[in-house]
């Protein structure tokens, strides 16, 4: 009898919970109300404290459609000026990538987007390379993958019309030469080499037409479907891409695009083998099922021949690869792990030849070794303010910007790159990273695009920062030792995901801000919650970072438009 009562009680509890939980659908429906309610505690609705963002949105639209590339550069500078003037985006440093490679390994190269290419690698005394890049990626399907680690595997086992060489230039891969572009810049004609899939069948222009249309199809639900937005869409939703013969294709763009060659080298633009994809997705609900085990057809230098999930992957040289004669390695053997300690130990033990993860506290000990490499990336580690945060209630947009500017001035970027980054990162004085192309034959960042001296921000700016905070409405008491105490306490909650490096950056900033009596509280969140809080604007101050997908500033500017899913500062909302 007792047991029956206990079971009844437990059941009541469960269904009570269910009732509290409600439906996911209704959760979503209620989210607007919740956000509005939360406004009274976490965020306020867009008011005078937030900058007017309609001009920025219009500017991005103009950048997307303009045909005057010289003017486009100017417009992008204006957009960055506008973004930086809000101080809601506070660049800290430009990303770089590190890796370690045994001295008997040559020919591996990395791009500024973080991809590692092994098809030209050689290893003295062996034809098998043992590699760790990360743990197992979610997808190996070029259309579905959106992670850098997944892209590294994809670029070595698939190949698109174009690829990147050792110098970082876009070069023909499956394409025969660079594309012919129409006078108005909207029609690209690409001639292809006669190449084969790994099963020996011919790879034709129709394979690309199929693959690209598949990537944008709604049912595929690809993360990077928007990468095809620049291509004109037909009335039936398909792309204006045509195979004029087996080895020629024409692509019609909505407007001229200075970085389209870069897109053609992006993994989402790689081909997939139609027969295999469709056979594994009979009911249309498992688009990535065809490449969830080893043995699928690909067209790159290596094919996946063995996959022990969460343990290792073996890629074997693809003899049907068009440039197989220049691939000297027979096998790439990947350790699937994200455990820094185990990876570093395996490398030191000689079990691995190539790694791109080094524990933070070991970087100093290997920095000057001959097998330690640094590669600049196109990306920026930055911090974001939620412009609608209650912190700025009662301030004008200008005052709020001054408050944020004061915070930016107080952050010792040099200390962060030297003690946390440790691998020669450059302190960031702009949001668009150094080295990014401007889409008009030049480099975007010049000496003029420095928004402050990033090497001197920090404790030396206390007076200037205090003056800015006073303009924002705060008053201070001088402690007499170069520090100040605000007459009204300033509390600044900062969120980050669990990571030693991010934690160290946060602690450094916390220490910097304490000179002005600002109490920065560090809240470490679960990764998933962190992403959701940033996206929904349930935060005041947060860690951020962006690694560019392609070499053009628009990739890093359009994410801040009002409707963008990556508009974490909540501009215009």
């Amino acid at each position: 009898m007792k047991k029956i009562v206990a079971l009844l009680l437990a059941s009541c509890m469960v269904f009570g919970l269910a009732a509290c939980g409600g439906s996911k659908g209704s959760d979503n429906a209620a989210s607007t109300d919740t956000a509005a309610d939360a406004g009274s505690t976490e965020t306020a609705s867009t008011g005078s404290q937030a900058p007017d963002w309609s001009e920025y949105d219009a500017l991005i639209d103009e950048i997307r459609t303009t045909t005057d590339f010289a003017n486009r550069v100017e417009l992008m500078h204006q957009a960055e000026d506008m973004l930086m003037s809000t101080y809601a985006v506070i660049p800290i440093y430009y990303y770089n990538d590190i890796y370690m490679q045994k001295d008997n390994v040559k020919g591996v190269y990395c791009t500024v987007f973080g991809n590692k290419y092994f098809h030209k690698a050689t290893k003295e005394g062996s034809d098998t390379l043992y590699i760790n890049l990360a743990s197992e990626p979610d997808f190996l399907d070029p259309a579905l993958n959106s992670s850098v680690d997944g892209a590294c595997l994809i670029v070595n086992s698939f190949e698109g019309l174009y690829s990147y060489d050792e110098k970082g230039d876009v070069v023909p891969a499956i394409a025969e030469g660079m594309p012919e572009v129409s006078e108005d810049g909207t029609v690209y004609t690409v001639k292809m080499k006669q190449t084969k899939w790994s099963n020996g069948e011919a790879l034709t222009a129709n394979d690309f037409v199929y693959s690209w249309n598949r990537a944008v199809a709604e049912e595929t639900a690809a993360d990077y479907a928007y990468m095809f937005d620049i291509i004109k869409h037909n009335d039936d939703g398909t792309l204006a891409v045509e195979a004029t013969d087996d080895y020629t294709m024409t692509i019609t763009l909505t407007n001229p695009c200075p970085y389209f060659n870069s897109l053609l080298a992006f993994p989402t633009y790689y081909p997939v083998y139609q027969a295999e994809v469709e056979a594994a997705n009979a009911d249309g609900t498992t688009p990535g099922a065809w490449c969830q085990e080893a043995g699928f057809v690909s067209n790159g230098a290596f094919t996946l021949t063995s996959w022990s999930h969460d343990e290792n992957m073996v890629y074997t040289k693809n003899d049907n690869y068009w440039d197989a004669a220049n691939v000297s390695l027979k096998e790439l053997n990947f350790m699937l792990s994200a455990d820094d300690t185990a990876i570093f130990a395996a490398y030191n033990n000689g079990d691995l030849d190539f790694i791109d993860t080094v524990p933070t506290d070991e970087i100093g000990s290997v920095m000057n070794n001959s097998d330690f490499y640094i590669q600049d990336n196109l990306g920026t580690y930055y911090l974001a303010f939620n412009v609608n945060s209650d912190l700025f209630s009662g301030m004008t947009a200008e005052q709020a910007a001054k408050f944020r500017q004061a915070i930016s001035l107080m952050i010792d970027r040099q200390y962060i790159v030297e003690t946390v980054g440790q691998t020669g990162q450059i302190p960031a004085d702009s949001y668009i990273p150094a080295g990014m192309a401007d889409g008009n034959g030049g480099i975007f960042k010049t000496a003029d695009t420095s928004y402050y001296d990033a090497t001197t921000t920090g404790a030396g700016n206390v007076e200037e920062a205090k003056a800015l905070l006073e303009e924002a409405g705060f008053t201070f008491t001088d402690n007499g030792d170069g520090t100040y105490t605000p007459d009204t306490p300033i509390s600044l909650p900062y969120i980050l995901n669990e990571n030693t490096g991010h934690q160290m950056v946060a602690e450094s900033i916390q220490s910097d801000l304490s000179l002005l009596g600002i109490e920065m509280t560090i809240e470490v969140e679960d990764w998933n919650v962190f992403l959701e809080d940033r996206k929904n604007g349930n935060y005041t101050f947060a860690r951020e970072g962006w690694l560019a997908d392609f070499d053009d500033p628009i990739n890093m500017l359009e994410m801040f438009t009002t409707d963008s899913g990556n508009n974490d500062p909540q501009f215009g909302r």
Partner: protein, 303 residues
Amino acid sequence: MGKYLVKRVLLAIVSIIIVSAIAFFTMNLIPGGPFNKEKAQSPEAIKVLEERYNLDKPIPQQYVMYMGNLLQGDWGVSLKTGRDIWTDISSKFSVSARLGGSAAVVAIIFGIILGSIAALTRNRLPDRLIVFFTTLGTAMPSFVLATLLLLVFCLKLGWFPVWTSQDPNYVLPIIALSVYPMAYITRLTKTSMLDALNQDYVRTARAKGVPRHKVIFMHALRNALIPVITYVGPMVAYILTGSMVVENIFTIGGLGSAFVTSITNRDYTTIMATTMFLAILMVIANLLTDIAYKLVDPRITFK
């Protein structure tokens, strides 16, 4: 006995249903979602995915649908990778079971032997040494032990590779996994063995001139094992489902890591599947424990 078993099986089914309900509804209360990514997905893509996996339905309806599919043997697909969950779980469980099963055997055999030795040499050097090492074994977290093993046996002595593309070497992971349960079993065995050795029936057996080894193994140890069995049942079920820490350090694709990762990823279907799998194993282990009681102790009757 038959009636008892039927009753237990029915109760087990109810327990599993309750566990599934608690897991399902609490999982949906946790903030976050399976499609959150650093570079945000488009609302259109998220809508397609939510419809595909029925996440657009009210949660009670989702639960009913999930259980309905499960009863038909459909464990669903991972929301993160799209992989068939049963295929994933069965392959990962085979890895975890091989590793955990070996660790359980090591823990039980050595635990009982060491516990018996400690009891028979009470307050002498062997006992003190065993007590020292079992205290260390129960106090040391597995991530410390695993890292220490890696450092000593792989890096310093070079006896094992840290990682190999061939079948992973299970010696070090088995040691890392078995030390804690072995230490615990040792302490349990020692305590209950000491208790058994002081019982009248043992004294009687000795007085009757039964050989010492027979007194120890046939009379004392058999009775001393009853509390050990209580612990061993759930321990085996737990250890068979893997350990995230040990799997990560030794790069073993087991169930423990998959379970934790699924929670981090809010991969609802995988969370449910691994929870249900663990619950079923636990229930079976408890049932077997009860049956083992009966075999070891004839005084126990099933009601």
